[in-house]
Structure formats: structure tokens, C-alpha cells
């Protein structure tokens, strides 16, 4: 198993350099005017970034307000007793709530939890698995749909949150199984 993982790690070091060199090289072989193509494609970078701004502002400021208001702690206190029967400790609940909302906030929370519970604690392990196995759903929605100006997201949010919840539950259970 370790050799497989080493191989994967190795590949991940090489992928970007290989793309940077390989695409233009193969393009030359195919007689593509590589420099011209690159510039035409790259021109879009700025427009895409600018298109994302309103969507990102909308999501980030609302989430920042929510965090600053202390509503999150109240929500954690409220949900704690409800989730305890299914084996979900109240200590990792803030992580489960904050993870889909903000990437930097949840990273700070991991640091916080390491200071409070110690590196070896089961709560830090659960929080780390949560952090590693899900994405900042609302950020991804803002960036991907913002880039193409899609405002009506239909079932994107419920689907993303369902996936997040399943990952959170599985994180708690798998850590408990392995280290509990």
C-alpha cells in the first residue's frame, strides 16, 4: 500500500511540470501556433476572475457576518444534544458547521482544536478527516457558477450539503473505529 501511495505522490509532483512542457511540445508537433494559442486562451483569465467577484463577495460577506455574530456557537450548542445519540461528539460540531462555509475559517479551527485538545486527541483526528475529505461547498458554488454567470443553482446546494453531511458522519465513525 505504501508503494502505491509513494507512486501517487511522485506523480503529483510531476503532473504540473509535465503539463507545462508537454502541452506546448505536443502542440508544436501538431503544428499549432503555440504562443498565439496560449495568449488567446490566457486572455480569458482576467474576465473570468472579474466575473467571479460579485458571487464571491455575496457568499463571503454573509458567511463572515454569520461567524462574527456568534450564531455558530449557538447553533453548535443547539445541535449538540440532538446529534449525540448518533455518536457525533459536540466537540467536532463547529467543524462540521463551518467546513462548507469557509476554507480559511475551518483551517483556523483545526489549529484552534489542536491547541485546545492536543494533537493526539480523537477530536482533532475527526476534524482533520472532515477537513481533508470535503470542500468549501459554498466557495466552489460561487466560483464555478459565478464564472459562467449562473444564478439559479437548482439542486446544487442540497446535493453539496448532502455530500458534506455524509462525509462528516463517515469521518466521525471511521476515526472512532480506527482510533476509538
Amino acid at each position: 500500500m505504501d508503494t502505491v501511495r509513494n507512486a501517487i505522490n511522485l506523480v503529483s509532483y510531476f503532473i504540473i511540470p509535465l503539463m507545462l512542457v508537454g502541452f506546448p511540445l505536443y502542440g508544436l508537433y501538431k503544428r499549432v501556433p503555440v504562443y498565439e494559442s496560449f495568449v488567446v486562451g490566457a486572455k480569458e483569465g482576467f474576465q473570468v476572475a472579474v466575473r467571479i467577484i460579485p458571487y464571491l463577495v455575496a457568499i463571503l460577506f454573509a458567511v463572515a457576518m454569520f461567524r462574527a455574530s456568534g450564531a455558530m456557537d449557538a447553533l453548535a450548542r443547539l445541535l449538540g444534544p440532538i446529534l449525540r445519540p448518533i455518536g457525533f461528539p459536540a466537540e467536532v460540531l463547529p467543524m462540521a458547521i463551518i467546513r462548507p462555509l469557509t476554507g480559511s475559517g475551518s483551517a483556523a479551527l483545526v489549529v484552534d482544536m489542536i491547541n485546545r485538545y492536543g494533537e493526539d486527541s480523537i477530536y482533532v483526528k475527526m476534524a482533520s478527516v472532515m477537513f481533508g475529505s470535503t470542500e468549501t461547498t459554498f466557495y466552489v458554488i460561487a466560483v464555478y457558477f459565478g464564472a459562467i454567470n449562473v444564478r439559479k443553482t437548482r439542486h446544487a446546494v442540497p446535493v453539496g450539503l448532502t455530500a458534506d453531511i455524509s462525509a462528516m458522519l463517515f469521518a466521525v465513525w471511521s476515526v472512532r473505529l480506527l482510533f476509538g
Partner: protein
């Protein structure tokens, strides 16, 4: 859905901020307008003609606890200075001192230009101070801070403004990386790499994205996006994903509404299947991460399965089926009247 969640975040934060502030006011948490007893020890001879006199501020832990009704403990002493102003003598705590709550909060609200906690000195006798030659004999006084009100309300407003700026910064910070990878992708398209990739991944991805025509470049870009995610290359994954979304948008009948394929791609991205540990966790936990990699991969694979299933099932729900641009294309724009 997003409309309600978004509005919900804003409204709940306002209500909670208001609630916390009301509680602070009801309990007079900051003891607005009342003097906190302190003892001032002079390291230099006090002279009321001098504008600025350095002083050692001592707060008795017991007095502090009864005054604020808290269990927080102040440090043995704080460096500070007295400042003669037209309004009277001011006491300032040197910036960067580790203040206990609620002083830390008060410091945020009523600090000087140099971020020092400041307050008006009361019951201070210059005569006694001038005679106190030694730090052994501190002079008692009281300090009144600026009244503190609506801390949370101010905090949410500040957070909103702050993060609006951050959001624009994040988006603009993407310009360079986006340009780099979108440029590379253009070469890949022109050289036929994307097209070759489409043929390669069609058997796997087509069942997940039945709306995409079999030879469409979107499939190839989706494959690149998923591969970049898989190897933990967040920098590359985002431009690939955005390009894939743009290709899906060319197939979309109504440009402001997400298609089922878009939701599916998004779902696969939020599930974040990644086989190398996230850089941040590696930095924080070091080698311990090796013991966590299997639960991480396990949860992420499981949540991917859930995401795909949910994208499929929710897409069949009445509400979302009716808004499907492929099922109910928008009426063509009415011809301009003659």
C-alpha cells in the same frame, strides 16, 4: 434554495448580534461609566507639569473579579503611562499587552491611535503621586473607559466590509493562475489533446453526464478537472473546472440556470476526491497525517458516491425537474413588435 440560505445567514447573524448585545447591556458587562480600581506605581518621580509619565499599572485580581463579575485573571502589572490632556489625566496601557476579558474587548473599541487601551483617570491625587517616590508604594486611583455598546453589531458590520474586500482580493488573485492554465488548455484544445481525452474517458463519464453529446470537449475538460482534484492540484483544478463549466454553458438553453450536468460536476467537486493529503493538514499535523489518510480517502469516496446519487435523485424531484433548462427550455425571446 441559495436565496433562502443566503438571506438566512444574514438575518440570523443580525438577530444573534442583537441578542448578544442586549444581554451585555442588560448585564452591564462592560461597567460603562464606572471606575475600575487600579494602583499606579511610579518608576520616575511624578510631576504634573510633565505631559507623559511612565507608570506601572497594577490591577488586584480580586477587585477585578468582583468589579466585572468574571473569573478572568489580569497579569501582575501592565506597563503604561499617564497623559495630561485638556480633559484631565488619561491612563494608557501600552499596546500589545495581554489583557483579560472584558478589557480586551474594551481595548478594541476605545483604543488610542497606537492601539493602546485608554481611559480617564478618576480619584487620582497628583499630590500623593508626587510623594510616591518608590514603586513599593503605588497610588490608588480609578480608571473609566469609553462606554462600550453594541460590540457584536459593530463586529458583524466590520466583518462584512472586511470580507467584501477579501472576496475581491481572492478573485483578482486568481487572475494569473487562471490565465496560465486557460492558456495551456487552449493549446491542448488546438492540438487535439482534449479531443483525444474525450474518447478515453467517454465510457466512464458519459453515464454521469448523459446530456453531453458524445464528442463534446466538455467531457475531456471534466476529466482534467477531476484528475487535478484527485492529485491535490487545487491550482489547476479550478481553471479546468471553470473551463468545463464554460463548455457546459454552451450546451445550456437558458444561461442563468444550472443544468443537471453542471450540478453533477459541482457535486463531484464539492465531494473533493483527493488521494494526497491536503497541504494544510500536512503542515499542521506532520507525519501523523499518514494514519489519517485512509479515513480521509474513505470518507471522500463515500461522499462522492452520495454526491452522485443525490445529484441524480434530487434532479428528479418535481421542483428541480420543472426548472431543468433541457427539459423545459425557455420560450424564445418574443420577436420585436413591428
Amino acid at each position: 434554495m441559495l436565496n433562502y440560505i443566503w438571506a438566512g445567514l444574514i438575518v440570523t447573524s443580525f438577530l444573534f448580534a442583537l441578542g448578544y448585545d442586549a444581554r451585555d447591556i442588560a448585564g452591564d458587562r462592560y461597567r460603562n461609566g464606572r471606575p475600575l480600581p487600579v494602583a499606579l506605581a511610579f518608576t520616575e518621580t511624578y510631576d504634573s507639569a510633565t505631559r507623559r509619565v511612565p507608570v506601572e499599572i497594577r490591577i488586584d485580581p480580586r477587585q477585578f473579579a468582583t468589579f466585572y463579575g468574571t473569573e478572568e485573571k489580569p497579569a501582575a502589572s501592565y506597563p503604561g503611562y499617564l497623559l495630561q490632556t485638556r480633559e484631565g489625566t488619561q491612563l494608557r496601557f501600552e499596546a500589545g499587552a495581554k489583557l483579560p476579558e472584558p478589557l480586551a474587548t474594551i481595548a478594541k473599541v476605545s483604543s488610542s491611535r497606537d492601539q493602546e487601551l485608554q481611559g480617564r483617570l478618576e480619584g487620582f491625587s497628583p499630590l500623593a503621586a508626587a510623594q510616591a517616590r518608590d514603586t513599593m508604594f503605588p497610588v490608588a486611583a480609578g480608571v473609566v473607559f469609553e462606554p462600550v455598546r453594541f460590540v457584536k453589531l459593530n463586529a458583524i458590520a466590520a466583518a462584512a466590509l472586511d470580507f467584501a474586500k477579501t472576496a475581491a482580493g481572492i478573485a483578482l488573485g486568481l487572475v494569473g493562475v487562471l490565465a496560465l492554465f486557460l492558456g495551456l488548455l487552449k493549446i491542448a484544445e488546438d492540438a487535439g489533446i482534449v479531443h483525444a481525452l474525450v474518447k478515453l474517458v467517454r465510457p466512464v463519464l458519459r453515464p454521469l453526464f448523459p446530456e453531453i453529446p458524445p464528442d463534446h470537449p466538455a467531457l475531456g475538460l471534466i476529466a482534467l478537472n477531476l484528475a487535478a482534484n484527485f492529485f491535490g492540484l487545487g491550482n489547476a483544478a479550478t481553471p479546468f473546472g471553470i473551463k468545463a463549466m464554460e463548455e457546459l454553458q454552451t450546451l445550456n438553453q437558458s444561461k442563468d440556470t444550472a443544468t443537471n450536468s453542471m450540478v453533477m460536476l459541482l457535486a463531484m467537486n464539492t465531494a473533493a476526491v483527493q488521494i494526497v493529503p491536503p497541504v494544510l493538514l500536512l503542515a499542521l499535523l506532520g507525519l501523523q497525517i499518514n494514519r489519517l489518510i485512509f479515513p480521509i480517502i474513505g470518507s471522500t469516496v463515500l461522499s462522492l458516491i452520495v454526491a452522485i446519487t443525490a445529484a441524480r435523485l434530487f434532479g428528479r424531484l418535481r421542483v428541480f425537474r420543472d426548472s431543468d433548462p433541457n427539459r423545459n427550455p425557455p420560450a424564445p425571446a418574443a420577436a420585436p413588435e413591428a
